[in-house]
Symmetry: C2
DNA sequence: AGTTTGTTCAAACAGTTGTTTGAATTTTTA
DNA sequence: TAAAAATTCAAACAACTGTTTGAACAAACT
């Protein structure tokens, strides 16, 4: 009757599902694995969530909360260059810095959805990507000026996102290619300084001759 | 003695496997689907290749041939900036231009392996990525000068790769975010010009203060 | 011819998947 | 306390997976 009969197993299932989905991906994840880690019965997923798909949706709702409004770099006192620095610093540290928390798992799931999009990618884009790209777009409009062609603005915005997301995707390749290369994690500041420099240089280059 | 009018079932299986693996990924691909498209019996994969895994290896050998040596931009008469332009132009058009051929399927499989690495990623990196990154590294060494720190060179190399690979990964997001944006395919030259400008600007920016 | 070798095929096998069942158990309600 | 509702659980289900089997067929060689 009450809506909080046994929160324990349901929460345990959700936590285990976040782990497994981030680690294996939706297809490779099995409900038996999830229930095993949650110390619950195999039928628990269907009882509490209604099925594997619904559990995945619940996971997405959990790790992409609605009320999250970053807009960190909106301080009007800062120059757009400084705001870009703050923007890239915050985004980078969120992706790479915190190792075992929920934040990195969220980006792992995001990466999986990009490589093999499902219907749920719409949800993730609306919750996670849309507000961040809007903010970047504002910063870039100030840097490039109001007369910049829309294509240049769109390309540049994608370029800067690509610089940040790069390691998320190419980490396994870098491990195989140049294992001696220092990892981003632990050198976040160096990495951020580099991509800020690279971005500002690239932006002024595409601004010059338009 | 060769080229019988009847289609070789082994070749048909290989062709169908390339399609299915590129479209669904290794896990989601089924041998029944592959054999169905090849109009072959379910047991044909095991008879001709020995199993699904061995078929995947055969597909990788097929779409990542050994004798492929790009080194297009090695002309010593060109400036490193021009060589970078040629390098990015060739790489971009190979990834995005030819729509239905084998080349794009190769990059689709590459993307899948990056998002969920398997043992075969070593093979792909050695065959596909290694020679191209070596070439880029040479170009960047000339542009940045011999005294550039190794970390800056490594970061910059990754950055430029990220600019090219960007759309491969974010295409499904862009479709959901800004559908009005002109696609890269069809505007390859504009895209290449943009990332060349952006790259050169970024490179001189990271070169300045080191 | 006959024999051998290579290839196809329908059927079945063994394993895993998500899901359902129905009875046992716990918790809540009256 | 007793009835009722909510939750757990072992077992089974149906569908799908890659793989194997053994007979049928085809081609090549002696």
């Amino acid at each position: 009757m009450n809506e909080t009969p046994d929160v324990n197993t349901k929460d345990a299932l959700l936590a285990a599902a976040i782990e497994v989905f981030a680690d294996k991906g939706f297809d490779a994840a099995t409900v038996r694995d999830i229930c095993g880690r949650a110390k619950a019965n195999v039928a628990a997923v269907n009882y509490h969530f209604g099925g594997k798909d619904a559990l995945y949706v619940a996971v997405l709702e959990e790790i992409f909360p609605k009320d999250e409004h970053p807009q960190i770099a909106k301080d009007p006192d800062l120059s757009p260059q400084e705001r870009l620095h703050n923007y890239l610093s915050d985004l980078t540290s969120e992706i790479y810095e915190r190792g075992n928390g929920m934040v990195t798992q969220r980006w792992a799931i995001f990466l999986r959805e990009m490589a093999k999009p499902s219907q749920n990618l719409d949800f993730i884009v609306k919750r996670q990507v849309q507000p961040r790209t809007d903010e970047l777009r504002n910063i870039l409009t100030e840097i490039l000026g109001p007369d910049v062609p829309g294509a240049v603005l769109a390309f540049s915005s994608s370029n800067i996102w690509a610089l940040v997301l790069d390691h998320l995707l190419t980490q396994p390749i870098i491990d195989r290619l140049t294992p001696q290369r220092p990892s981003v994690r632990g050198n976040i500041d160096d990495f951020v300084d580099h991509i800020v420099k690279f971005s500002l240089g690239g932006l002024s280059a595409v601004k010059e001759n338009t």
